[in-house]
Symmetry: C2
Subunit: 425 residues, 2 copies
Amino acid sequence: MAMRRAAQQSIQALGSRVSQSKQLHQATPGSKKIVGVFYKAGEYAEKNPNFVGCVERGLGIRDWLESQGHQYIVTDDKEGPNCELEKHIPDLHVLITTPFHPAYVTAERIKKAKNLQLLLTAGIGSDHIDLKAAAGAGLTVAEVTGSNVVSVAEDELMRILILVRNFLPGHHQVIKGEWDVAAIAYRAYDLEGKTIGTVGAGRIGKLLLQRLKPFNCNLLYHDRLKMEPELEQHTGAKFEEDLDAMLPKCDVVVINAPLTEKTRGLFDKQRIAKCKKGVLIVNNARGAIMDTQAVADACASGHIAGYSGDVWNPQPAPKDHPWRYMPNQAMTPHISGTTIDGQLRYAAGVKDMLDRYFKGEDFPPQNYIVKEGMAPIWSGTSNFICESCYAPHNLERKWLRPRLDCGSQCSPRLIRFDLLRVGTH
Amino acid sequence: MAMRRAAQQSIQALGSRVSQSKQLHQATPGSKKIVGVFYKAGEYAEKNPNFVGCVERGLGIRDWLESQGHQYIVTDDKEGPNCELEKHIPDLHVLITTPFHPAYVTAERIKKAKNLQLLLTAGIGSDHIDLKAAAGAGLTVAEVTGSNVVSVAEDELMRILILVRNFLPGHHQVIKGEWDVAAIAYRAYDLEGKTIGTVGAGRIGKLLLQRLKPFNCNLLYHDRLKMEPELEQHTGAKFEEDLDAMLPKCDVVVINAPLTEKTRGLFDKQRIAKCKKGVLIVNNARGAIMDTQAVADACASGHIAGYSGDVWNPQPAPKDHPWRYMPNQAMTPHISGTTIDGQLRYAAGVKDMLDRYFKGEDFPPQNYIVKEGMAPIWSGTSNFICESCYAPHNLERKWLRPRLDCGSQCSPRLIRFDLLRVGTH
């Protein structure tokens, strides 16, 4: 297999891959070693036969893989030089990872993985993969695009309602044996009539806007481009070109942007100050879009009246993460994309891609993050567009090799963060 | 004033009220004594200028009332023979109460309240008023119909999502310094594709169905009559004539029925057993519709996989109420109808009715529970239809005097519970 990759890299250097693509993408004949890294379910594994995303069930594809003569290793042990994953790095062909219990696929691991051809994300996202190294090694990186966009959009609407209606203080009263309606009611509101702004209106943002429609809110969205007129008309959402002009209008701000170098720390002290006093913020995108301490400080001062999300920086959140202790938080661990329904969808998507890989067929195009060392870009822009959050906006899609083809369009840094996808789930 | 009521009762006995209605309904000239009983806000009163539903703000109508020469007493002290309310019973003209901190208007209190003409509910519901006694005394009882139906419908959708997506265990992990995705995920689902059935599709039920539409669920409703075809078509909700035939189909059951003698204890052990194993139940209607212990037992056994609501039996829930301790509960105190938006609406509605009362004008017809001793019934049925939960179904509305006009149509018991309204909020 090392030979195969070396050959692949030579062809790549020639810049004449298109006609070879199908052949290159095909798995070499014979048994493959496939490794999956998932979270452990322990006592919970037996409680639900559809709980396929855990290490105990390994996406439910073991019998299918083994019946075809492939080897399938699953583990949750992914850290340090002596972990189970590390033992298999030298000879695995396919590595399946998940954002919910990420195995970090570093440049070093990619270098050691001489047989590696395919990195699959069970779910959406590739934060945990060094995409530049993967592209440089001619690998294919793919996710199950769309597998949990509905899951996340539903979860966002739940969090909006939990904050607007001040659910948690009431629930805590119940647990503590109390009954004090006033202590809840003085800051409980209806969602109706409020102004909700989404920062990003890609797939998840659009699904959220559709679900918000019957609540009779004022809906705003900030994105780089306007959405399709039909959808804008259907949802009644108004386009806001300037983020800083939208924020002071919003009672609720929802983050639906991917993590890129442009969005990292986007909500720092200054930007939070531009929000309305008493703003509610929902962020199921990525924790690093927020300045952790600035959010905690604004919750303490009351400038942010409520903050809810399932994403943290870092993950898992350490015991002393300030968001665990700030007032009016409605946080959970990273969970919204790994509902049982989401798991069944991404397990089916991974199985489908493995089947295509064995047969030498292309994957659904939207699933590719890196295709045999090439990254998708859209012509007409040098910036990355995340498919899990931003629609392609009808721009022509092209496959380019980072560092080789981009030339003056972008620097390697831009390739890393703006052309390659940093998904949100 | 005692004279006035005596006169009124005499006219009533003659059964010739219609032509007299306007005159009778008019307040006698001069200063009125108006008493309002609300919950105390304490330290929370100053935290929100729109927190008008508390005793400290008294619906924000003091200046307006006093500028017209009326006396306005507000208190939260409503229990026992020496409470503040009791002192004012003998000479008050108008008593304003709320379901969130109910002052029980018993037959005994009505007998003592010789000047009483008008009982207003700040909110919706008259559980706490002895309607038979009020009707017998020729009083008018009215609520602000519709003032918080949106509040309750939104709250129900929030609770559905909290249960379906298994929000609370994740949040408790955050508080306890833990991070265990599997312990949440094994029973977290998307709402999409699930079957939701509402028991009752009146105002709140319909608003809920409209808000559920974009979630792509299978929507069912049980009611005595089918809803308007346009709304059925718009929401895609299917009519289920037989409750026991609907229940086994539902992943989520939402109670949107009023409390009547027919619905009291409707969900007992036998009926809960008819629900799908693992059913989720949301009940913001009335606690007494459920058999308290049967719900707790079914949650303990896992037959009910989650139960959420804001209504209890009794209220306030005592410290040892079993619903505080049962697994997978997402309970709060009775709060969904008293959001700040709801408070502003019912405060405006009470002010409007007082203004009409002073001027001798009729109230909006849907607000009447008892109109000068007469209860509304709809011809063609001997059963009560609650306007806060059941639409009038285009039946002709008539005003009848209980015990006098109903004759063979119904017994006094039916008048009490089926003809007189027992509202849900």
